[in-house]
């Protein structure tokens, strides 16, 4: 039987229009080819293809697309879509095997995740900090390691805030809604809130360090609190930097703000800045959720 001769480069051979059957030597009884799809509308694409398109769309745009039609709404609510998006963004890798209650929420928590405290390392002087108490010679910013001080474990941190012989306290109030954490997210999923701070004394002087972190409601009612007793460090200490950390989990619903306050003073009433040094404070909302997903979101 004759075989079709082909050119070496990209080429084609046109058969008569309408001719479907093609007798090849190898397949004596070739079936007619099924008609290729003639597409009119995007919704005629196979669902997994439409899902592939959606994985390329930014998250908020996708949520707005739920309003287009019921097919789009149902596809956008599929957990597999959001898991794929997490993979695409590098929030998880292929070996991820931990259970996730809701991949859509997990995606948003990963994309929102960052330090919610501003100017944590004194790079912008005292900007963004409210000064609640400015005793003695008041708050000051100095560079690491400082007199009678030690290096900070993370070389990216260059500066710290230092307190004086009268009580110095500073704070920030984080507005969670303004930071992108909507009410349903916090109340239904209650993601864990990790708080950290670092402090150190001067080797040549004793001091006390205070910290207080509170989760508060819209009306500033305290719903959860972390306020350990003040830490006292004696004179002739090793001036090492100490990390303080606390994780809020399974807190009540209604959290809308986080109040972070810290500071202290020296114990020997010396003029100048001999009180505790603080830096690298952070409040980070992790993607780890306290509870299973609530009723408002779609099925897996």
């Amino acid at each position: 039987m004759e075989r079709q001769v082909l050119l070496a480069a990209v080429s084609y051979h046109i058969w008569l229009p309408g001719q479907r059957l093609w007798a090849t030597p190898a397949s004596p009884a070739s079936p007619p080819f099924p008609p290729a799809m003639a597409l009119v509308s995007i919704n005629e694409l196979p669902e997994n293809i439409l899902l592939e398109v959606f994985t390329h769309a930014p998250a908020r745009q996708l949520l707005r697309c739920r309003l287009v039609c019921s097919l789009w709404r149902d596809l956008i609510d599929l957990m597999t879509l959001w898991k794929r998006k997490c993979l695409r963004e590098g929030f998880i890798n292929e070996d991820w095997d931990q259970p996730v209650a809701d991949w859509k929420v997990f995606y948003f928590l990963c994309s929102l995740r960052r330090n919610l405290l501003r100017n944590p390392c004194a790079e912008e002087d005292l900007t963004s900090w409210q000064i609640d108490s400015n005793g003695g010679d008041k708050w000051k910013v100095e560079s690491l390691p400082g007199d009678h001080g030690t290096d900070f474990p993370d070389s990216k941190v260059k500066k710290y805030f230092v307190t004086s012989f009268g009580l110095c306290l500073k704070s920030q109030l984080v507005d969670l809604k303004a930071e992108g954490y909507w009410e349903d997210l916090l109340d239904t999923f209650r993601p864990e809130i990790e708080v950290k701070d670092w402090f150190a004394a001067r080797a040549d002087c004793g001091c006390t360090y205070h910290i207080r972190v509170q989760l508060v409601s819209e009306n500033y009612i305290v719903l959860a609190s972390f306020e350990p007793p003040p830490v006292t460090i004696d004179q002739w200490n090793n001036a090492e930097w100490t990390e303080v950390s606390h994780t809020f989990s399974d807190y009540p619903s209604g959290v809308r703000h986080i109040l972070f306050q810290h500071g202290g003073k020296d114990t020997q009433f010396w003029a100048g800045w001999y009180g505790p040094r603080v830096t690298n404070s952070s409040i980070i909302i992790t993607p780890k959720m306290t509870r299973d997903r609530g009723p408002l979101h779609g099925s897996a």
Binding site: R3, Q4, L6, L7, A8, A9, V10, S11, Y12, H13, W15, Q19, R20, W22, T24, P25, A26, S27, F33, P34, P35, A36, M37, A38, L39, V40, S41, I42, N43, L45, P46, I49, E52, V53, T55, H56, A57, P58, R60, Q61, L63, R64, C65, R66, L67, V68, C69, S70, W72, R73, R88, E89, G90, N93, K177, G180, W182, D184, L296, H297
Partner: protein
Amino acid sequence: MQTMPSIKLQCSNGEIFGVDTMLEDLGMDDEGDNDPVPLPNVKAAIFKKVIQWCTHHKHDPPPPTDDENKEKWTDDIPVWDQEFLKVDQGILFELILAANYLDIKGLLDVTCKTVVNMIKGKSEEICKSFNIKIDFTEEEEVQVCKENQWCEEK
């Protein structure tokens, strides 16, 4: 390497293409006979465009596999591809299908991103541009709007 053997690919309407190919993953073995590989899901006109894209991109470096370089946004489509994809929606969708069927990731990415860039404006406008029928009942529409309220608030 010696000259690449022509691989014959037969599209849905019977047209046969010979390609000195970079489409290696068609499950071919070297000693295969010269029978054309059927591609019943791909029309000739679409396949021509696929070949055109592959030929233009054949010297592209392989995509990065590490997390650092994962593309996030849809505004990074190369200019040549943008021009290449200025086609009717129907053709664009068929290119997506072909890229998926032929497992050509680069083409699939760029065609999907092109569609995403066309999804603009309010839902009514989107329905119009894609010829989608709005099929929500009144209650469903209220429900979806309510569920979406928080993301309008920013």
